[in-house]
């Protein structure tokens, strides 16, 4: 029983010892689509590599944006990460890297779920009293869940690159930090043109 619990905790920390390649990619894409649907109703968008936030004006959030923006930013991460990984190793399959990195976004679903039912005041109201946001219980819960989820996603991304590319310590840190920064910039550049 204890072994089973340890197994489960281990999988929560690193699911990629069990799942990678096509199954991880397909499961990850399905959850990404579900996350986009929930996000659309919550008025939240994941338009970066590791961020989820509410949109300023719900009317600006179209189905096209909700579906396309996470996909484009994630594609940027996969491509950039693969290219940077090539500096250190050629011994990896793009399918594994794409699959594990896509699966690593699964926890974002919890962020979007936490955003459901949260009603945000207008920008003018926030500008008048910025602290009113912290009296909004729904928003505070969303914020806390989001911080936890971002840490969780980053941990899964670390294991995704580690397992897929067999990189460790310094090289792993360098590949991941560079990939996130470059992909974030590239994604912002591309998204304003879509």
């Amino acid at each position: 029983m204890l072994m089973k619990r340890n197994d489960f905790t281990g999988l929560l920390l690193n699911p990629f010892s069990r799942v990678a390649g096509w199954p991880a990619l397909l499961a990850g894409l399905c959850v990404m689509a579900l996350t986009a649907v929930v996000g659309y109703y919550a008025g939240a968008l994941s338009d970066g590599v590791i961020d989820v936030h509410f949109v300023d004006d719900q009317a600006n959030l179209t189905w096209r944006k909700a579906m396309l923006f996470p996909l484009v930013s994630h594609a940027c991460l996969v491509v950039v990460c693969a290219l940077i990984s090539l500096i250190f190793t050629r011994n990896f399959r793009l399918l594994d890297l794409a699959g594990t990195l896509t699966f690593a976004r699964v926890p974002f679903l919890f962020s979007m779920l936490a955003g459901l039912g949260v009603t945000l005041p207008s920008v003018a109201e926030i500008a008048a009293d910025p602290f009113m946001l912290f009296r909004n219980v729904g928003f505070v819960i969303f914020l806390l869940v989001n911080v936890f989820v971002v840490v969780w996603v980053v941990v899964w991304m670390v294991y995704a690159v580690r397992v897929s590319c067999d990189l460790k310590s310094g090289k792993l840190a360098m590949v991941l930090i560079l990939s996130i920064v470059v992909a974030e910039v590239l994604a912002k550049y591309l998204l304003v043109r879509i």
Partner: protein, 88 residues
């Protein structure tokens, strides 16, 4: 489990004596241990299963219920160790 390292100074052990269980004949000498014997029992089992599965990482992943890259990384580690023994 075959001891391969000295329990006192951790240097690699060598084979000095072997015995035939049937007639009791003993062969003495100073022989090197085969490289595969230097791997841990888990790693030896991995090599054995890998050979039995015709070197298919996909089948190894299914057998061990692990992901393909995890199994490939285990193999990389064994290759690294074997190469290190060779250069010693």
């Amino acid at each position: 489990m075959l001891p391969v390292y000295c329990p006192s100074c951790h240097a690699q052990l060598r084979v000095r004596r072997m015995q035939c269980e049937q007639c009791g004949t003993e062969v003495s000498g100073n022989y090197e241990l085969p490289e595969l014997a230097l791997l841990s029992p888990d790693e030896q089992l991995f090599v054995l299963q890998f050979v039995k599965n015709s070197g298919s990482l996909k089948e190894m992943a299914a057998l061990r219920r692990l992901s393909y890259p995890t199994v490939r990384n285990m193999l990389n580690e064994i290759i690294f160790k074997l190469n290190a023994y060779e250069t010693k």
